[in-house]
């Protein structure tokens, strides 16, 4: 009950301002660009092939910018306004606070992904499209986004300054996209799903990553680790 109330407030918070709409519009633009406007092989008009690898291939880097921008507000804003004190005084289980915030922001990501659906639909009108690949790509994107958001929200608990939170999250996302270890590399795990190959190990990796950082956020709140006046 409380989880959904917090999620709804978070959702409302995003759509009350310009940021939510800007987020959706820029996300759709950034992911549609390689398919329709770029001069590379990914442009369906230039290649004449209904292939969405460039579309899904843009997701990791787009998320690495957009998700820190979204998550930077999550806890930093609560701490800056002092409303975190109010939320904690309600005696809600910390896990519910974390999940509520997560679901509220995840909702915006799901909406943004849904708004990109016209891209494959349009491409599908031009030439026959492998819808299995499309489904697989979206599923992978949902998992990828969940793991990234959990990580960024966790990092956001350490700062009451949005810019600092954004920089911290962007740095972490960049490291996870560039790291050589294939086990930890976010982009590597996404390669398969972008190609339409659904490997449960990739999805389990993202799911575990997400759970670990949701739990870590909960622990951060439980310990009130910052222990200084807000």
């Amino acid at each position: 009950m409380s989880i959904w109330t917090i999620a709804r407030k978070e959702w409302q918070h995003q759509l009350n301002g310009l940021l939510g709409y800007l987020f959706c519009a820029l996300f759709v633009g950034a992911t549609a660009y390689p398919v329709f406007f770029s001069q590379s092989y990914g442009n369906v008009f230039l290649s004449g092939v209904a292939d969405l690898r460039a579309f899904f291939g843009a997701f990791p880097f787009t998320f690495s910018v957009f998700i820190p921008a979204l998550a930077m507000r999550s806890w930093a804003e609560e701490r800056r306004l002092g409303t975190v004190e109010l939320l904690l005084s309600y005696g809600l289980p910390e896990g519910q606070l974390v999940l509520g915030k997560f679901l509220g922001q995840y909702g915006l990501i799901v909406l943004s992904l849904a708004l990109t659906l016209p891209v494959p639909i349009l491409v599908g009108q031009l030439a026959p499209l492998d819808w299995g690949q499309v489904l697989c790509g979206y599923l992978g994107a949902l998992f990828f986004a969940a793991a990234s958001l959990a990580l960024c929200q966790f990092l956001g608990t350490f700062s009451q300054h949005q810019i600092l939170a954004f920089l911290l999250c962007s740095l972490a996302m960049t490291v996870l996209l560039m790291v050589e270890s294939t086990l930890l590399n976010f982009a590597w795990h996404f390669q398969n799903v972008a190609r339409g190959v659904l490997d449960s190990r990739d999805l389990v990796f993202y799911a575990l990553f997400c759970l670990v950082f949701l739990f870590a956020s909960r622990q951060t709140l439980i310990t009130r680790f910052w222990s200084r006046p807000w």
Binding site: N16, Y90, P229
Partner: protein, 309 residues
């Protein structure tokens, strides 16, 4: 009902609470006084679960607050310092969120908010975004939020900060009315309202309770008993000089044409008798000779300038 037992809290190397011990009397308004940095806000945050104590515990009906369930926290309504609110929500949206997140059903929320808008004076701004509200209205929204679940305990951290005198009077009147049936812990710097509003006073200094008692008992701690107020029908010229020639008078302050403050060691009754004899000898008619009322301000200053034990 609420009991602090040896609560310690430090932020890094800075000790804020040093073994805080006190108990709130049920159904009373307790004035929580202390200079800035004394630890009032920190202790209130510990009481309301926003912070954790390093040592010691706070008990609510005998149960440590760290072990309380979500349900038990519904007994406490909290208005934090600076009234944190979500500026992009309207007053209604904020109150609805605060009620629903604490488990109140939608119809009950609607009913309860309806009950609160009148006494909290929020009717005119219910649909207005919080960002556009004046400080006074923000404070009322914060107070309404604290009252949503009709909790038996209210913790109010400086609810009058930044308000104009009329707003202060209104808020304090509301708190006074609430205090008839609730246990209120009220942090404030406005000492003039303490005698009429509070049944009990706690004075905190450097993380210790340095006074716990009634407002009257606190005023008794005013160390300055050296001032007598004298009103005379007609004082001769050179009156001030004449009075300074009295051995018992250390200083004469002219308040108005016929009112003077005499500073001396008036704790000693014989000095007062000698002064009366002096006035009689010089044929100065006395309309009033009385000790100046005890001052909470001076008592507060005295209590908080001392180094705590």
């Amino acid at each position: 009902m609420i009991r602090f037992e040896g609560v310690h809290k430090a932020f890094g190397s800075k000790k804020v609470l040093n073994g805080l011990d006190f108990e709130l009397k049920p159904g009373s308004v307790t004035g929580y006084l202390g200079p800035n940095g004394a630890g009032k806000t920190t202790s209130m945050r510990i009481l309301t679960n926003a912070l954790q104590a390093d040592q010691g515990q706070v008990l609510l009906d005998g149960t440590p607050t760290t072990e309380l369930t979500h349900e038990a926290f519904k007994k406490i309504g909290y208005l934090p310092e600076h009234t944190p609110l979500y500026p992009d929500l309207t007053v209604w949206e904020f109150l609805e969120f605060s009620a629903r997140v604490r488990g109140m059903s939608a119809p009950a929320t609607k009913h309860r908010v309806g009950e609160l808008v009148e006494p909290c004076g929020l009717k005119a701004v219910l649909g207005q975004a919080i960002a556009t509200l004046s400080k006074g209205y923000r404070q009322r929204v914060g107070l309404a939020q604290a009252l949503l679940l009709d909790p038996p305990i209210l913790v109010l951290d400086e609810p009058t900060t930044g308000l104009d005198p009329n707003q202060i009077r209104e808020i304090l009147k509301l708190i006074g009315e609430l205090g008839r049936e609730k246990t209120v812990l009220l942090s404030t710097h406005i000492l003039s309202h303490v005698p009429t509003l509070c049944d009990q006073v706690l004075v905190l200094n450097q993380g210790h309770i340095v006074f716990n008692g009634t407002p009257q008992a606190m005023a008794e701690r005013d160390p300055d008993r050296s001032r007598l107020s004298l009103v005379t029908a007609h004082a001769p010229e050179q009156f001030q000089k004449l009075m300074e020639s009295c051995a018992q008078v250390q200083q004469v302050q002219v308040e108005t044409q016929h009112r003077y403050t005499l500073i001396g060691s008036w704790q000693n009754a014989s000095n007062v008798r000698l002064l009366a004899e002096f006035l009689q000898k010089h044929q100065i008619p006395i309309l009033e000779l009385s000790p100046e009322p005890l001052s909470l301000d001076r008592a507060f200053h005295h209590l908080t300038e001392e180094v705590s034990p």
